[in-house]
Amino acid sequence: MSKTKSLVANALIAALYIAISLVLEPLTFLSVQFRVPEMFNHLVVFNNRYFFGVVLGVFITNLFSPLGMYDLIFGVGHSVISLGLLILIKRTVKNTTKLMIINTLIFTVTMAIIALELTLALELPFFLTYLTTALGEFGVMAIGIPVMQMLNKTMKFEKLV
């Protein structure tokens, strides 16, 4: 795979991440919001190269978020740390489904970073904030497992970047 193609493909993954988050309203269920593009975090399970596309998507989305730069640092930090951990774990665990479950758990645990952001800025009680934010993240990432697997059957993500 040429370097240029990998670069351009990641740029388009980021664009798709942003386009979907802007066009599709989040699926809401029992007042917990599931943001569809968060499922893209599972792309890194198929190929480490998707790391840049996903992080860039988060970066640009946060750039336009009402919380501005403050959100940017924590939002990007959350994705970089979580996906970095996943890439490390990928060295020992090879099974895709297992990796996706691990990825879901990583993102749920590291939501503490976002809870910390809100605690720092608003001095809200940490655990209450953590519980509400982590629940939405866990939901969408768990739902993302079968969705991304179904998509992978047609797309073959490993070989695309």
Binding site: T4, L7, V8, A11, I18, I20, I60, L63, A121
Partner: protein, 266 residues
């Protein structure tokens, strides 16, 4: 559909803030985000508020427009204020609201924390209000330049960001088109059991991914055919330049910070 295609919040105006080098703006706003946490009394908050509103006015963007941009976070600000008002128990009891005693300390803390959050959002939103996404990309590329020494792909990242920004509107249009096409075939994203709604997302994502990768392939081929070989020796279309007004803005900002620290002890 046209309105949903506006990405970011950039408002073109002929103001000093718009003309500042994007790097100056990013560095100052970043510093502001840190220094806002140093405010510790009414005077220091008032000082920061005056500075932020002054800065907002100098952008020449209507304050009403900026306030509308803050709409999604009003709820969070009010919620935080109320939470601190009822939970904090410091100082004397000010009055009772249906059995809930409100303390002076709670009122002060509630006001200060909501104020701080408001300032954080107001000032950070000024970056995207006065700077185009492309300018932000250029600024990030030069600001991250030192990271090249540790082999961080700064140029590639900036290029990815520009390509991404270019394709967001195209892919948004496509997302909208495909979701409408699927809806006309009876796919329902909004109602029904969660499992069915999730399944409905798949036929939307497949064509989107296919088209995104097809575009990527074509663009990569076009770039290579035109001799793209990475960042080395590439010249730039837009050059960033630090001018006198940037130095002036930094001086004003430093004076504001000095003022903040003097007011902290009052």
């Amino acid at each position: 559909m046209a309105s949903s295609l506006i990405i970011g919040q950039y408002v073109p105006e002929e103001s000093v803030v718009h003309k500042l080098d994007p790097r100056t703006k990013i560095v100052m706003i970043f510093a502001f985000v840190i220094f806002v946490f140093f405010a510790n009394n009414g005077w220091s908050y008032l000082w920061l508020t005056a500075f932020s509103i002054g800065a907002a006015l100098s952008t020449k963007i209507k304050l009403r427009y900026i306030a509308r941009g803050l709409k999604p976070v009003w709820f969070l600000i009010v919620f935080t204020f109320l939470l601190h008002l009822f939970v904090t128990r410091e100082g004397d009891v000010l009055f009772d609201i249906i059995g809930f005693p409100i303390y002076t300390g709670a009122l002060i803390q509630g006001v200060q924390i909501s104020m701080r959050f408001f300032l954080l959002i107001l000032v950070t939103s000024m970056l995207t209000l006065t700077t185009t996404p492309i300018e932000i990309t250029d600024a990030i590329e030069t600001l991250l330049h030192p990271l090249k020494k540790v082999k961080f792909p700064v140029h590639e990242l900036a290029l990815m960001m520009s390509i991404s920004l270019r394709f967001i509107p195209t892919l948004m249009q496509e997302t909208e088109k495909i979701s409408k096409a699927q809806a006309s075939r009876g796919v329902d994203f909004r109602t029904g059991p969660l499992k069915e709604r999730i399944q409905a997302v798949v036929p939307l994502l497949v064509p989107l991914f296919v088209s995104a990768f097809k575009r990527a392939e074509e663009l990569a081929m076009a770039m290579e055919a035109r001799g793209y070989k990475g960042g080395e020796g590439r010249s730039k279309l837009r050059e960033l330049e630090v001018r006198a007004r940037d130095y002036l803005a930094v001086v004003v900002f430093i004076l504001m910070i000095v003022g903040l620290f003097l007011l902290r002890d009052m």
